[in-house]
């Protein structure tokens, strides 16, 4: 295939096949660095905060949270949507960019997929523990029970969500594991210790790189990408239906599905950038995750940020144009009511801030991209807070208008899921290759 020389190489530093294995396997084959231990310890501490606060919630009940009968969804569902959104970048990168033959995905898809899986685990914690009696968490499953055949309600978007999230989690896990098999086999065949040979050998499932298996493997990867693409779009669509199929002003809008999907991609890429800007320098991966990669991702951030911004403005316009008083009030209240600060944080972080990526300097300066990615994460958290809390705290009946603020338990649970997420990510970076070696080896000579 012809590739113009004006295009930059995907992997810099003139790496050979041997270099790729050596560089990527280094963290696995050596003792972890001090920096790794520091990061891991902090994350683990936060994870213990999670265990403590979620334990207290389970013991004492949902009364430990600030939610009340008007604002019955507070930080919990905000955090749920926040984490599910973050979980969208991984499959987007590995599935949609595979279908579009975007080769730059190859050095970031592994870590992005890992991020997806950990983020969805964090997300699942919130609705599960919001049930109050978590030991009855299997009740949303369509199981025959002891009360006659009383089944779950398939008219409810909350049940669709159960199916969507669990399908998304398991399919992403399969996709990720399938991608890992050839690399696990590489680690197995390089292993010097018996334990490593055994465990990586166990999970490599006897992979030997035969061309017949590679042929099947590529077909399977393509099909998985093909089904994951509509899946990733459906998941956040269904999450948005949790809101959009209700009749609460500010929720009951048809724009929600595309708007949520754009927001999910936006926040997902924000988190991928947060992680990768750090990971590439801590793990010395600058030749694999180059500035070109970061630049490509910032372009996606800018595009999806603008789409989300357009959705905010469209919502406002439609509320005005519909002539429905309740809708109009809901939106006026969002921007100028008691939660105005949340609304304007959301607007400035999601719509205005990403516009700096029109400038080449902003797209190619890692430390600046890192700061921007944090801003995007904050903005997207506030978007969910604005949608959920401002719509609920003042709806139809003024006598039930209330204010909501989180308690220390809710803050602790949220910080705790950060701990869960980063602990999992640190373990991943120690025990599994963070870059897809097999795919990188196939594009060493290609250009972007």
């Amino acid at each position: 295939m012809f590739e113009a020389n004006i295009r930059k190489p995907l992997v810099t530093g003139g790496k050979t096949l041997t270099d790729v294995s050596n560089d990527i396997c280094r963290p696995i084959e050596n003792k972890p660095t001090k920096l790794w231990w520091l990061g891991f310890s902090i994350s683990f501490l936060l994870l213990m905060v999670f265990v403590g606060t979620i334990g207290w919630t389970t013991w004492e009940g949902i009364g430990t949270w600030g939610v009340n009968k008007s604002v019955m969804w507070g930080w919990d569902i905000t955090n749920f949507v926040f984490w599910v959104g973050i979980g969208h970048a991984g499959t987007l990168i590995s599935a949609i960019l595979l279908l579009f033959r975007q080769k730059w995905r190859m050095s970031i898809n592994r870590s992005a997929e890992a991020m997806t899986i950990f983020a969805v685990i964090c997300a699942a914690m919130f609705p599960l523990f919001h049930m109050g009696r978590v030991w009855l968490g299997y009740w949303p499953l369509p199981l025959p029970n002891a009360f006659g055949s009383l089944w779950v309600n398939f008219n409810s978007p909350l049940l669709w969500d159960v199916f969507a999230i669990s399908t998304y989690f398991s399919v992403s896990l399969l996709f990720w594991y399938l991608g890992l098999i050839p690399d696990i086999a590489t680690v197995r065949d390089r292993a010097t210790s018996k334990a490593r040979k055994f465990w990586y050998g166990f999970f490599a499932m006897g992979w030997n790189g035969s061309a017949r298996n590679w042929h099947r493997y590529e077909v399977v990867a393509l099909i998985l990408a093909g089904v994951s693409t509509p899946l990733v779009l459906s998941v956040h669509t269904i999450v948005s239906m949790d809101f959009a199929t209700s009749v609460i002003p500010g929720w009951h809008t048809t724009i929600f599905p595309p708007y949520f999907v754009a927001g999910a991609i936006f926040s997902g890429f924000g988190m991928v950038l947060t992680l990768l800007v750090i990971a590439r320098s801590v793990l010395n991966l600058q030749d694999y995750i180059t500035v070109e990669h970061l630049e490509a991702m910032t372009k996606v951030v800018m595009l999806t940020g603008s789409m989300v911004g357009l959705a905010y403005l469209t919502e406002f316009f439609i509320a005005f144009y519909s002539g429905v008083e309740y809708e109009q009030y809901a939106f006026r209240n969002r921007a100028f009511g008691p939660y105005w600060w949340a609304y304007w944080t959301m607007m400035s972080c999601n719509l205005l801030a990403p516009q700096v990526f029109w400038f080449k300097w902003a797209r190619t300066t890692p430390w600046f991209i890192f700061i921007m990615s944090i801003i995007v994460n904050i903005g997207m958290w506030f978007e969910r807070f604005v949608i959920i809390v401002t719509s609920l705290h003042r709806d139809y009946l003024p006598s039930s208008w209330v204010m909501y603020s989180a308690t220390w338990v809710e803050v602790g649970i949220f910080l705790g899921t950060m701990g869960l997420f980063f602990t999992a990510f640190f373990l991943f970076s120690k025990f599994l290759p963070v870059v897809n070696m097999a795919e990188i080896k196939s594009i060493l000579k290609s250009r972007e």
Binding site: S149, N155, G209, A211, Y217, L231
Partner: protein, 188 residues
């Protein structure tokens, strides 16, 4: 089968391996298999591997998921299958007949995808004869790292002489040619 000898050409570049395969096949040599650390483009076509019909399997699994989704919901939510053993679920006065089909779309869709993905995953592992804990048949420990192997069975040579095969492999840049048993051991 394990004591069968193999002729192995060792390469360090996918393109060289591909060229060697094309040349050898033109001469009528039957290639047993190639072992590469990454998927070499067009190698499967050059080796004459028949396109896998895993895609058909994926479609069938997807259809199974689609039908299971519909069946599940018709069974649980409506009386069309005459399955109401006890309590029909009347929620918000919503109908329990074909007019609830739009509500069935999300779950049916998700189950179709779930069945397709896991179906093809499992079929792939069966076809590739892979299972957790299986001991890999490795001819050279570097075949999953930075070397590519071209394996020919001695009776796959056809009318081509052994020295001619060696010279073709060498001309395409083989760094080594050696003989191995199927289980990876050498007997000299």
């Amino acid at each position: 089968m394990l004591d069968k000898k193999l002729i192995l050409g060792v390469y360090d570049d996918g393109d060289k391996l591909l060229n060697a395969v094309i040349k050898l096949r033109k001469k009528g040599v039957e290639i047993m298999d190639c072992f590469t650390p990454f998927p070499v483009h067009n190698l499967d076509r050059a080796m004459g591997i028949k396109r896998t019909n895993l895609t058909v399997g994926a479609f069938l699994c997807g259809m199974t998921g689609f039908l299971s989704g519909l069946l599940l919901q018709f069974y649980m939510m409506t009386s069309h299958l005459n399955t109401f053993k006890s309590w029909p679920m009347i929620i918000g006065g919503k109908p329990m007949d074909y007019s609830m089909v739009p509500s069935m779309v999300p779950v049916t869709f998700e189950l179709s995808i779930l069945f397709t993905a896991f179906g093809i995953g499992i079929l792939f592992f069966i076809r590739a004869k892979m299972i957790h804990g299986k001991i890999a048949q490795i001819l050279d420990p570097r075949q999953t790292d930075d070397r590519m192997l071209l394996a020919i069975e001695p009776d796959g040579l056809g009318s081509v002489s052994r020295s001619e095969v060696d010279s073709i492999m060498n001309a395409e840049g083989a760094i080594e040619i050696r003989e191995r048993n199927m289980d990876g051991s050498s007997d000299h």
